[in-house]
């Protein structure tokens, strides 16, 4: 390894190119002054203006945001509780139950949720989408929180109790601050998963509720327009901002220790 750094460098650069070139193309063509994604004509912000005038698009964006915020908030709370319970009581079954929705094929999850909601006579819409997003996000949060907990020195909790803290105080003053990076990371993950979920949302959305991925899909059925590029660029930007915020809030869980 040490004698051939150029090999490592080349592999690294190629990997990054492979990952980022498609994204860069999307961003670049969102500023292209042409209806076609074929050749560069000139710079314009026209497509972004177009987005703002597209009422369907605005509605889809609002829906996605709402679903993302509610689903990630609820699944962060539930997932933190699950992660803590798994760690604290060394549960065997709960981890499996929690991870199941992540592991099984999304299409299966979508279909079964659809059947379930129909059986319950629940009108498909925002509520059913939020519920299904919570179902698959909880597991991610639980895993991140649990792994953060198991990296924590257990004697810290004992020390807190020893020094006079009740179990609740020990959790609030010691455990919670120490696992906060994990919780923030989990919340962020839940939000991004929710924002870009397509398959499960597709099955549980019903006819009236549209999210961004559903909207993009319905648009590209006709043609990949620069408008699609523009909305994708905005989604990317949002994700980027979230990651930057999260790394600021919780340096530990992203940079390693």
């Amino acid at each position: 390894m040490r004698r051939r750094p150029w090999l490592v460098w080349t592999a690294g650069v190629l990997t990054y190119l492979f990952l980022y070139v498609p994204l860069i193309i999307v961003v670049v063509y969102s500023f292209n002054d042409s209806r076609l994604n074929a050749e560069w004509v000139g710079f314009t912000t026209h497509w972004y203006g177009e987005l703002l005038r597209d009422e369907q698009m605005i509605e889809a964006a609002w829906n996605s945001l709402l679903i993302g915020v509610v689903a990630s908030a609820v699944s962060t709370v539930l997932g933190t509780m699950a992660g803590y319970a798994i760690y604290r009581f060394r549960l065997r079954l709960l981890p499996i139950l929690v991870v199941m929705p992540i592991a099984i094929p999304e299409i299966l999850m979508g279909v079964s949720l659809l059947i379930f909601f129909v059986m319950l006579n629940l009108t498909l819409g925002l509520v059913s989408i939020i519920l299904s997003h919570i179902a698959f996000c909880v597991g991610f949060v639980a895993i991140v929180v649990r792994s953060r907990l198991s990296g924590m020195d257990e004697s810290l909790i004992e020390a807190a109790r020893d020094l006079g803290a009740t179990p609740v105080q020990a959790f609030r003053l010691v455990t919670l601050p120490l696992i906060m990076p994990g919780i923030v990371a989990g919340a962020l993950m839940a939000f991004t998963l929710s924002i870009d979920d397509f398959v499960i949302t597709f099955f549980t959305a019903g006819v009236d509720s549209v999210t961004l991925p559903l909207q993009i899909y319905s648009m590209i059925k006709i043609a990949v327009t620069p408008e699609v590029n523009a909305v994708s660029t905005l989604l990317m930007l949002l994700t980027l901002v979230l990651i930057v915020i999260a790394t600021r809030l919780a340096p530990g869980s992203f940079r390693g220790k």
């Binding site: 004697s155 004992e158 020390a159 020893d162 020094l163 010691v174 120490l178």
Partner: protein, 362 residues
């Protein structure tokens, strides 16, 4: 009444008995040490006193109150953990203020109490540092300050110096003794380092396999061990299996295989013994090319088999004519002597006084 009463406390992990019917009575103001090899149950016992673990049998009474079912936060006992367990997200100041806040100390008082505690352990000026910005010795002192700040009745210390280097360890030992004297709080100190135990404690309980083998003051423990385990565990010791040949009032004549007849002072309870062990400390054995000291009634000729030079003393292993190997310690106190008095193969004479060995009855 004793501050802490431990009455036949037992703790089992499945079918393994980690603490086996231990009874101890610890007085207020005492520096008490639990000493024993790794795995003998010291930490397990400490955790039950602190309230992290419950005994399967027996009773723990602190200040006259049975501790069964009392959670750690309601016991007037604080612990200094081996890993120190400082809260990494809090500064030194916040760490030390933690127990004060938990005990609802008025906010106005906290600052002064924290400063006082930091002064006790000479850490003033470190208030704003985080634990990962401190050296090992400083962390240890923060842990002690934090555990002492709201003056518990009892302070438990689980090998608090194990992670420190020898020099710092010695310094911290002196500081701990001074601190304990100053605050007058009862310390229960856990260690597997016998030298540390002897240096620090008022009384020591030597533990082995979950039981207390002997409980005594350091000097008694060292000079009059009750059994082979204690003799062997504390300090260096020649353990010679022997049969009693003759018992005459205060003296015993013992036959030791591969050595010969040895005379030893009788001890309490040696009357009527036929078998036993003679525990002989290496520093109580004299060595010379020809022994001049007439008080050495036990004398054997032999040759130096090997030696271990440790700076202040040299430990010689002498093989006597009968074939038995005896360890002899000689201080390197002769002026100008750079290393050793004898070479392997040198013919020497060793000897010890009648009261040098300590007879242990089987």
């Amino acid at each position: 009444m004793a501050l802490l009463e431990i009455r036949s406390v037992t703790r089992r992990f499945r079918d393994f008995v980690a603490v086996d019917g231990v009874s101890l009575s610890i007085q207020a103001g005492e520096f008490f040490t639990l000493l024993g090899p790794s795995g003998c149950g010291k930490t397990t016992l400490l955790r039950m006193i602190a309230g992290f673990d419950q005994p399967d049998g027996g009773q723990i009474v602190i200040d006259g109150k049975d501790m069964a079912g009392v959670p750690p936060e309601e016991r007037n006992v604080h612990t200094v953990f081996q890993s120190y367990a400082l809260f990494p997200h809090m500064t030194v100041e916040q760490n030390i203020a933690f127990p004060l806040k938990m005990s609802r100390c008025p906010a106005g008082e906290i600052g002064a109490r924290v400063r006082e505690a930091l002064d006790d352990v000479s850490l003033l000026g470190m208030e704003k540092r985080f634990p990962n910005e401190l050296s090992g010795g400083q962390r240890q002192r923060v842990a002690v300050a934090r555990a002492l700040v709201n003056r518990p009745k009892l302070l438990l210390l689980d090998e608090p110096l194990a992670a420190l280097d020898a020099k710092l360890k010695e310094k911290m030992q002196l500081e701990l003794i001074a601190l304990q004297k100053e605050v007058g709080i009862t310390f229960i100190y856990v260690t597997h380092d016998q030298e540390e135990a002897l240096a620090l404690s008022h009384r020591i309980a030597v533990m082995n396999k979950g039981r207390v083998e002997q409980l005594d003051e350091p000097a008694v423990l060292y000079s009059a061990p009750k059994n082979r385990f204690v003799a062997d565990f504390i300090g260096e010791c020649n353990l010679l299996d022997c049969t009693v040949a003759l018992q005459d009032g205060g003296t015993l004549d013992l036959d030791v295989a591969q050595l010969g007849r040895v005379r030893a002072a009788g001890v309490e309870g040696s009357a009527g013994a036929t078998q036993g062990t003679l525990a002989l400390r290496p520093e109580k054995v004299s060595i010379a090319r020809a022994l001049a000291d007439e008080t050495c009634v036990n004398r054997f000729r032999g040759k130096v088999h090997d030696y271990l030079y440790t700076g202040d003393v040299t430990l010689y292993i002498v093989e006597v004519e009968g074939g038995r190997r005896i360890e002899v310690m000689l201080p390197n106190n002769a002026v100008g002597r750079s290393s050793k008095f004898f070479e392997p193969g040198d013919a020497v004479e060793i000897g010890w006084r009648e009261d040098a060995g300590h007879f242990l009855r089987d």
